[in-house]
């Protein structure tokens, strides 16, 4: 009797499994045109047979193919995260790059060059009113050029802030969807392939926005952790994130009147900015906090643009105020050419202006010495174009060269971001293709596929290596 019962149980179990396999096949046929649908396949394998211990044999649904699907899905998400990051970074950097002209024909480098030429012309004719007026005009143009770049940076920061808010809203919306899918899963949708497809599509969309870790729970729900640590969705609970732009108390801000860095905050109030390093949210944070802030300044960075504006203004003002407008008696001292808000080094570029008290008549050309030189100050100002003294430079670079380095660094970051974006676009397409290739393939077929792939890969890799050597040899001849 026992044997008969065992046999019946085993048969019933086998039928159940085959019925389930049939459902899976039907689902695959029904969803053949559904975008993102991964064909499901029931893996049938023998269950252990040992009647003495109650193990009745038969077949059971396996888990390896499910694990493979999850692995392929995860691979797609990793590529999407990186693609989202570089797409956003390349897009944001392209908007900023136009303010950093490397040709020297416009913007700050052109304005600097024009001012130094005006100083040079003035040094030839220190008493010439037109030469002095030209200095005033060129100085005003330099201040305007700094404003334009500072305003451009401020606009880029405002755009980044708006996009950060939109991206965070979108992340919370997808989190809400996943929460609803989890509820549906727990309410009997465990084997609903359509729901499965929706969950994977939502996770893929989310991974373009932020780096996530996904854990598939035994009740069918998904746990989503931002940066592998901070929960967004756990079962039937949603933990919304937010973006904040207020100054944190710790560390205390260094520069007054400057914007705060953007921070991503978890629902319980914890700062999780450092966990977000991929997806478009990661790209926006990188742009806002790591590119714009060191360039244009924030509460914790003076900003290289401000450093340059301050160095130029301070040095020109110092030379002019140490000089004389006339010998007198008594001798009349020069006045500063530029003013800026001295309260914060992080706002110099945007507040740089011509000193209202300065005019063509009170520009100090005379260096009282000793030795006394009638056009000494004008000469020293003209030498700023090609400086020889450390006090006329920033970290050993002329003002124009310092700006050139800033422009070069923006251009180089943009070129890198675009190259990585192109590469990640290809690897994302590849990951989707690989997911499709493996979907529904039996483990036996898979083993053959991998073996064939690896053989072909090695042959290709060897060929590419030879090609690389030949190309390197050709490039070696050019260098």
């Amino acid at each position: 009797m026992s044997n008969l019962l065992t046999s019946l149980i085993s048969t019933a179990q086998a039928l159940g499994v085959f019925e389930r396999a049939l459902e899976v096949s039907q689902n695959n046929v029904a969803n053949v045109s559904t975008p993102g649908y991964a064909a499901q396949r029931m893996l049938l394998h023998a269950a252990e047979f040992d009647p003495s211990t109650g193990l009745i044999g038969g077949v059971q649904a396996g888990e390896i193919e499910t694990a493979r699907n999850l692995y392929a899905e995860q691979n797609v998400r990793r590529q999407c995260e990186s693609l989202g990051y570089y797409t956003e970074l390349a897009h944001s950097l392209a908007a900023v790059e136009s303010y950093f002209d490397v040709t020297g024909q416009q913007g700050i480098p052109a304005a600097l060059s024009n001012l130094f030429q005006a100083f040079s012309a003035w040094s030839v004719e220190p008493g010439s009113l037109p030469a002095r007026e030209q200095v005033m005009q060129r100085a005003g143009e330099l201040a305007d050029a700094f404003h334009q770049v500072a305003e451009g940076m401020a606009r880029a920061a405002t755009d980044a802030d708006r996009q950060l808010r939109q991206t965070v809203d979108k992340i919370n919306q997808i989190g809400q969807q996943l929460y609803e899918y989890n509820v549906a899963r727990r309410s009997g949708g465990m084997d609903d392939a359509g729901l499965d497809t929706k969950i994977h599509a939502a996770l893929e969309e989310l991974s373009e926005l932020v780096n996530i870790s996904v854990l598939h729970q035994t009740d069918g729900s998904v746990t989503v952790l931002i940066g592998g640590q901070s929960p967004l969705v756990i079962g039937a609970s949603l933990y919304r994130i937010s973006v904040q732009f207020d100054l944190p108390a710790d560390p205390p801000p260094i520069y007054a009147a400057a914007p705060a860095p953007a921070r991503i905050v978890a629902s319980e109030g914890r700062d999780i900015t450092s966990l977000v390093n991929q997806g478009s949210l990661g790209g926006l944070l990188e742009m806002r906090n790591q590119v714009l802030a060191p360039l244009a300044g924030d509460a914790y960075h003076a900003g290289d643009l401000n450093l340059l504006a301050k160095a130029v203004a301070d040095r020109i003002n110092e030379l002019l105020t140490n000089g004389w407008v006339s010998e007198g008696p008594p001798p009349a001292s020069g006045v500063p050419l530029f003013t800026y808000n001295p309260a914060s080094d992080a706002v110099v570029a945007q507040t740089l202006a011509l000193n209202p008290a300065a005019n063509a008549q009170n520009l100090a050309a005379i260096s009282p010495g000793p030795p006394y030189v009638g056009n000494g100050v004008a000469l020293q100002l003209a030498e700023l174009a090609e400086p020889r003294r450390q006090q006329d430079m920033i970290n050993g670079y002329s003002y124009a060269a310092f700006f050139g380095r800033l422009a070069g660094s923006v251009g180089s970051r943009l070129a890198d971001a675009e190259a990585y974006r192109a590469f990640r676009a290809d690897t994302t397409a590849q990951a989707r293709e690989l997911r499709q290739q493996l979907s529904g393939v039996s483990l036996d077929q898979e083993a053959i596929l991998i073996l064939q792939f690896q053989r072909a890969y090695q042959a290709n890799a060897k060929m590419l290596s030879l090609l690389g050597e030949l190309t390197e040899a050709v490039l070696g001849m050019i260098r």
């Binding site: 694990a67 590849q430 596929l449 792939f453």
Partner: protein, 124 residues
């Protein structure tokens, strides 16, 4: 490339075009596609060997266009190499994961050795 002798830069351009095709195949890599890309790479290699012969001539003077084409080719090669490596890493990762799913881990935390996996698969 008819009967006429190609200019050095033409070999580079030909190799670039072949590499573009290889890149498209590598974006959706399957054993069949990789076999196809292998024949394209063989042709690219032949072009580069012809180029090397020409550039070894003492009167060869690289033009800016030649230098730019060589640099583009190098970037394409790196891109293609990384793309193929990415696909290979995917399969390698899955093989390791599958090994750990079937045979567990050894005492050092590495996926189970091949013997364990074969046993596991035989039991399944």
């Amino acid at each position: 490339m008819s009967g006429e002798i190609a200019m050095p830069v033409e070999h580079l351009v030909e190799a670039q075009q072949l590499l573009q095709k290889v890149q498209a195949l590598a974006a959706a890599p399957s054993p069949a596609r990789l076999e196809k890309s292998q024949s394209l790479l063989e042709e690219a290699l032949r072009q580069m060997q012809l180029l090397r012969t020409q550039t070894s001539e003492p009167d060869f003077q690289p033009t800016p266009a030649f230098a730019a084409a060589a640099q583009t080719l190098q970037r394409q090669l790196q891109h293609t190499q990384r793309l193929l490596e990415q696909a290979n890493l995917f399969f390698e990762g899955w093989v390791r994961l599958k090994a750990s799913l079937i045979g567990g881990y050894d005492a050092h935390g590495n996926p189970a050795p091949a013997e364990e996996i074969r046993r596991g698969l035989a039991e399944a």
